[in-house]
Amino acid sequence: MTNYPKMATIKVGDELPAMHKRAEEAELFLYSAASFNPHRIHYDRAYATYEGHEDIVVHGPLQGSWLTQFITDWAGPNARLLSVQWQNRASAFVAEELYFSGSVISVDQVNGSVELEIYERKEDGSVLMPAKATVKLEQS
């Protein structure tokens, strides 16, 4: 039985377990297909570099969905994601190692929710995607 965070014991500064992702060509192709996205920068290396990108570009919404997975894996199935917001500051590329980290920045015991601050970073530590989210956790 997995131990998910509870409103009764959560505190500011609690950290989410780190998650890392790396998408190869096949994964990016599957995401293009599953999201009905024919944008050439996500599968055609020659075209992506012609547009000035370093390599095949990881989809912004794929990183958004990794972000929601990062949150829901931590919060558990009985929690509810109430809101999420992120900024795409730079592009991620095929086969890059990407790291998610996050922590609780406020606890609202009246509404039974917590606010999270999350970052997706590249291997060199630069921030690709700063994010915030609110989640309603299980009471106890």
Binding site: E27, R40, P77, R80, Q87
Partner: protein
């Protein structure tokens, strides 16, 4: 003072509906393809008993899948060189390039497989700003998603940066 990147006729469109309303039934297999493509194997997307144990009516979906569920099928003849479809919902701007700036989501009610979801997208905001690299345009499209019972289930604001 730099010249305007936003033609007056585009500015006049703030508040206008850009796309929709379009209604789609949330399909189990499409949702699961999306979840697999993300690598998100949460049992509440795949196993009915797990979804019900977590308080859902039936299988729920990866939160951001709702946007992709609403994408309309279009013929390949409408593809541009960059692989995107010719977009009747695009807003004319005097810029070279539109970038994906980020998103903001509010999740208000659960969305489950079989729900009939209607999405309507409006041009919420359009303004020119001065950045370090010169002027840019911030364009915000807001999509409201409602279900078969008329409840607003989610709102998304997609932020585009154009320069």
């Amino acid at each position: 003072m730099s010249s305007s990147l936003i033609p007056p006729e585009s500015l006049a469109r703030v508040g206008e509906i850009l796309a929709g309303p379009v209604t789609v039934r949330i399909d189990r297999r499409e949702s699961q393809r999306y979840a697999y493509a993300v690598g998100d194997l949460n049992p509440i997307y795949f196993d009915d008993a797990s979804a019900k144990a977590a308080g859902y009516r039936t299988l729920t979906i990866p939160p951001l899948f709702i946007t992709h569920a609403l994408v309309a099928p279009e013929p390949a003849s409408k593809l541009r060189t960059d692989g995107l479809y010719e977009d009747s919902a695009s807003v004319a701007l005097e810029v070279a390039r539109m970038m994906f700036g980020g998103e903001e989501w509010d999740f208000l009610e659960p969305v489950c497989v079989g729900d009939e979801i209607t999405g309507t997208t409006r041009l919420l905001d359009l303004d020119q700003k001065e950045g370090k690299k010169g002027p840019f345009v911030r364009l915000v499209r807001e999509t409201t998603f409602t279900n078969q019972d008329g409840q607003v289930v989610a709102r998304s604001r997609q932020i585009g940066i154009a320069r």
